[in-house]
């Protein structure tokens, strides 16, 4: 095989490798693994965790109240991923109040 043919073959091979590099690996026969943190049960779990955090806090940011209320409402209506997202945000704000900075707060119940 001449040098020119070898170089051409290498170029074609590299092109193919790049073209198929985005292909997904892993077994295509096994069923996908189930994520358990997108269910209504988890939504309730997050809501309970948030309750525990807000119950012991002296001041509750208004955004937390809004997010908590919205999250629970969405979960009740079956929009679990959106509800979980809002409840997580509320938890983050409760755990790290410096993220939102100074803002309106509401007294804990």
């Amino acid at each position: 095989m001449t040098l020119l043919a070898r170089i051409s073959a290498a170029a074609v091979l590299m092109s193919c490798l790049i073209a198929v590099s985005g292909a997904q690996s892993g077994s295509s026969d096994a069923p996908p693994e189930q994520i358990t943190t997108d269910t209504l049960a988890y939504c309730r779990e997050l809501a309970a965790r948030l309750e525990r955090l807000t119950g012991t806090a002296a001041l509750i940011p208004a955004s937390v109240v809004r997010l908590s209320s919205a999250g629970k409402d969405m979960c009740d209506r079956g929009l679990t991923r959106g509800g979980i997202l809002r409840l997580r945000k509320a938890i983050v704000l409760m755990m790290h109040p410096e993220i939102e900075g100074a803002g309106e707060t509401a007294p804990s119940r």
């Binding site: 020119l4 092109s15 073209a19 985005g22 994520i35 943190t37």
Partner: protein, 519 residues
């Protein structure tokens, strides 16, 4: 009787003119134009492939590396929790992380030695994750939507297992998009490279076609053709100019050969015809044996002159071929000049001329002593032949200037000289100027002198002496040999007092033809 078989077709020459014969075609891989174009296409494709690979590595590859680093950092932090509080602490840490995972991309699982779930957001341990230190890509499903996750296994003391991962759906989409775009770009590049290769090959063929057509026309006999110069000043133009210079030189050489052939035929026809006429007349009209003998002697003299012309031509050809250069050595030219002057002293005196010589004690030259003697003798012979009575013929030999690399041996006469317009042609074979029409000679003397000068790396210069001619043989000067026994190749120990070789003065006897020196 059977007729002889017709000769085989392969032995008959092709009667068609050269241009009508089919051109020899090369196989594609043997074509230089194709190789040129293929190299261009391959290099372009490789360059773009390398660039695409770098882009992929910098984008998708960097994303992969970032995810892997995030997983390792996360696992390290959970390992710290294990060391602080064991299983319980790790469980709490995982629950905290999941509850704050706003991006919803984290995947954790803490399992017992039996791979039973203790914490995390995976329902079960993936069966394919069997080893630590390997980045696995596992298909996951959340809320009915399938995606891809990248995860690694870590083992804690006591046989507990930890799985840390990240959802890489977006990265996978980006990688697919990028790979697809790069692949199409490579296809486009290959297409463009192929088109470019065709263009390069066409340009190559077009450029070479000009050279090929010109050389084909020349080989068919049309010496007026020249390769076209485009004026761009590139390498092809340089090649074309060099070829054209070569063709000009070939044309001049062929013209010279043609002229010499014509001159030989013209100039020798007369003496041959004269000799024939004399012999014919003698055969018809010679009354006595003495008359016949005299006619034969005159014809013999004519034939001797013709032989001398041919010998001179051969001598010039031998000098121009350069074969004598192998015998070059360093020798003193001063005795050579003095010897020629002594030889022509008597001839000059007979013609009423004064011969004046000026030369240093030593004048070292690298070359051939005999050829230099011939050249100087030719010039002196011309000067004596063309000078009027009472004139002075000078022979001056010296360095062109103190420290100069040239040595000049100049012969000056007060004759009619050579007009400026004729001087460039005066060194051509058989050229006779108007002033030389009535003097004996074949017009070969200056041609021989120039051949000698050029063989030595020098030149013959013809200058106006106002009046007369000053002919200068300019040769590269040499350094005197080191003192002591003469080095091999030098002639100092063998030179005779007058510089004339042992063959005697007869080797340089002026010939009836004046400009022709017999060996």
């Amino acid at each position: 009787m059977a007729l002889p078989a017709a000769p085989a077709a392969a032995s008959r020459p092709d009667p068609r003119p050269p241009r009508a014969r089919p051109r020899r075609r090369f196989g594609l891989l043997r074509s230089a134009a194709f190789r040129f174009a293929a190299i261009y296409a391959v290099l372009l494709s490789l360059s773009v492939t390398a660039a695409a690979g770098f882009v992929w590595w910098e984008t998708a590859g960097r994303l992969n590396r970032q995810i892997e680093e995030a997983i390792l950092t996360d696992a390290q932090a959970l390992g710290d929790h294990w060391e602080v509080g064991g299983v319980l602490d790790v469980q709490n840490a995982i629950e905290d992380r999941l509850s704050q995972n706003v991006d919803d991309d984290a995947i954790y699982m803490l399992a017992t030695p039996d791979f039973a779930r203790l914490a995390g957001n995976l329902a079960s341990w993936p069966a394919e994750v069997t080893q630590t230190g390997i980045q696995y890509e596992i298909r996951v499903e959340r809320g009915g939507i399938r995606s891809l996750a990248s995860m690694q296994r870590f083992d804690f003391p006591g046989g507990f297992h930890l799985l840390v991962g990240r959802d890489v759906t977006l990265r996978a989409q980006l990688t697919r998009l990028l790979s697809s775009a790069l692949a199409w770009a490579l296809v486009l590049v290959v297409a463009m490279a192929s088109a470019g290769a065709v263009a390069v090959r066409s340009l190559f063929n077009r450029t070479l076609a000009s050279v090929s057509a010109t050389t084909a026309a020349i080989s068919a006999g049309d010496f007026s053709r020249r390769v076209q110069v485009t004026g761009r000043g590139d390498e092809f133009d340089q090649l074309a100019e060099i070829i054209n210079v070569m063709l000009d030189r070939i044309a001049r050489l062929m013209d010279g050969v043609r002229q010499v052939s014509n001159a030989i035929a013209h100039d020798l026809r007369t003496p041959i015809a004269r000799a024939r006429a004399r012999l014919e007349e003698a055969a018809v009209h010679a009354g006595t044996e003495d008359d016949l003998r005299a006619a034969i002697e005159r014809a013999t003299a004519d034939l001797d002159a013709i032989v001398a012309v041919f010998q001179a031509l051969l001598r010039i050809a031998e000098i121009e071929a350069g074969s004598r250069r192998a015998a070059f050595c360093v020798f003193d030219a001063a005795p050579v000049v003095a010897g020629v002057a002594d030889l022509y002293d008597a001839v000059a005196e007979d013609r009423g001329l004064a011969l004046v010589t000026s030369a240093p004690a030593a004048l070292w030259i690298y070359g051939d002593r005999d050829m230099l003697q011939q050249a100087v003798a030719n010039l002196v012979d011309n000067a004596v032949k063309f000078s009027p009575p009472g004139a002075v013929v000078r022979i001056d030999a010296a360095r062109a200037a103190p420290g100069a690399p040239w040595t000049d041996i100049a012969v000056t006469d007060r004759g009619p000289g050579i007009p400026a317009a004729d001087r460039p042609r005066a060194v051509e074979r058989f050229f006779r100027g108007e002033a030389a029409r009535n003097t004996p000679g074949a017009g070969l003397g200056l041609a021989l002198v120039q051949a000698v000068a050029q063989l030595h790396g020098g030149a013959l210069l013809l200058e106006d002496a106002a009046p007369g001619l000053r002919a200068v043989v300019r040769l590269p000067a040499a350094e005197a040999p080191a003192a002591g026994p003469p080095a091999p190749g030098t002639h100092a120990e063998t030179a005779s007092a007058d510089g004339i070789p042992a063959g005697g003065a007869s080797a340089f006897a002026p010939s009836p033809y004046g400009n022709v020196i017999r060996d």
